[in-house]
Amino acid sequence: MNGLTGEFARGVVRENPLLRLMIGLCSALAVSVKLESSLFMSLAVIFVLTMSNIVISALRRVTPENIRIPIFIVVVSSFTTIVDLVLRAYFPAIYSRLGVWIPLIVVNCIILGRAEAYAYKNNIIRSAMDGLGMGLGYTLVLLIMGFVRELIGTGAITLLGATLIHMGSRFEAPILAISFPGAFLAFGLLMGLLNKLEQRQRRAK
């Protein structure tokens, strides 16, 4: 794989930020309690990640090496503030659910990590693709986790007030799935499952 699709796909699978690079975990565990919050958090992260990658890449030739980190932070925190204010204004319910995690995007390791490791060294289009790919990798895991945890833990999936799936009244949802320990547990099991699949694939080759 090479070229732009390569940049894009890399973040989704091979260097998935959550499952492979082990960064950006905090928010992923916290917001994956519901599909809805996973979705909005992912959108916020994709936006901030892509935009800051673009801006940092664009400024990379004029950014002095020794103060690059503060500059990255200023860029990232500007976009984070935008998301913060937009969500607060238009989706107050979701904002209050996501709470601390929106402002904490600014220290989300994915974003600063990509800025430092990629955007600062590559051109704008590549950086944008990298941001999108990484964001999508994050989104993918978040959606799976959000879906599974919400479905098992509450017995139903609701999105923007509409109930999409309902397991029926005889299903007694284990609250464990949406609890704090459940987040770690689900994530650990998901990683184990992927490892298992990968091992099987490797053996098949």
Binding site: E172, P174, I175, L176, A177, S179, P181, G182, L185
Partner: protein, 357 residues
Amino acid sequence: MLKVTSSPHIRAQENTRYLMRWVLIALAPSALYSVYLIGTNALSVILVSVLSCLGVEVIWHNLRDGKHVSRTWWELVFLLAIPLLGMVPALGAFVQWIECVAILVVLWFEREHRFDGSAAVTGLLLAMVLPPMIPWWVPFFGAILAIAIGKEIFGGLGYNVFNPALVARAALLISWPRYLTAGWFKPVVDASTSATPLVLFKNRLGAEVSAVYGPLLFSNTGGCIGEVSAFLLLLGGLVLAWKKVIHVEIPLAYLGTMAVFAALAHNDPIFHLLAGGAMLGAWFMATDYVTSPLTTKGRILFGVGCGFITMLLRLYGKAPEGVTYAILFMNMLTPLIDRSLRPRVYGHIAKPVRGGK
């Protein structure tokens, strides 16, 4: 042919199975008594829990070791499909018995498997910390959690960090709180309430609870299956101490700390020792080898910690009982305790250099 092995060439009689067998023997009076008092509900919880633990262990080991893999998968599907029979109205009430028989059939197929007895102990302990009046699938899932997440995923016997039975209980408590905080055994004498003494105490109806030593000791008190008789549990614990199966410093430190704490907080120490899961926890849960410290000093610290947290949670916490979390919390500290309280090696002047990279 002369056999050549490394010294020593003689071994003590005790083995892992022997130790596990004694734990089961020590728990048996309490378990049987609860079945006698409570009836089939207790029997069903105990059977489902013990058999499921054994079943999960066999299936996990077979898949892990690659033994009879296809047969094992069929067994797994078979056992997991049986709960679906609960949908059939006529069968609904009997599913637990069908499941028990099914597990027995599977165990018969796997009869050459070497059981070390730890799964049976975990299963019985799990049953003892559950209320008797719960749907049968609660201990079923509990057993899966205990053996799979509590133990086998860490590498099996001896490698788990937390007490498997208590992991399962805590997870079940989060998952289905309404079953785990109700469904207590109803005492025969005082049928007007189904609350446990600790719940009564929590609700500040505690003035008269001190007068219930008799019921606490000998039955007739609300609570989990394993809480029907503090006396029988104490007896079992003493048997284990006498057979040198458990290290007696843990229960002594545990119960001693509880008593002192209670007395300092102007509570009735004896009530706190007899009520709830204190006896079961101190003698059977906290003494689990795998999850408790290795040195005498460490074990005393462990017991004191358990007793302190238990009383803290009982007196100032939200829930009436704290034994489960106290022991789980101290389990978590066990590697740290083992690391910090290493015995001074013979001939070494100062404390040994702390381990670590």
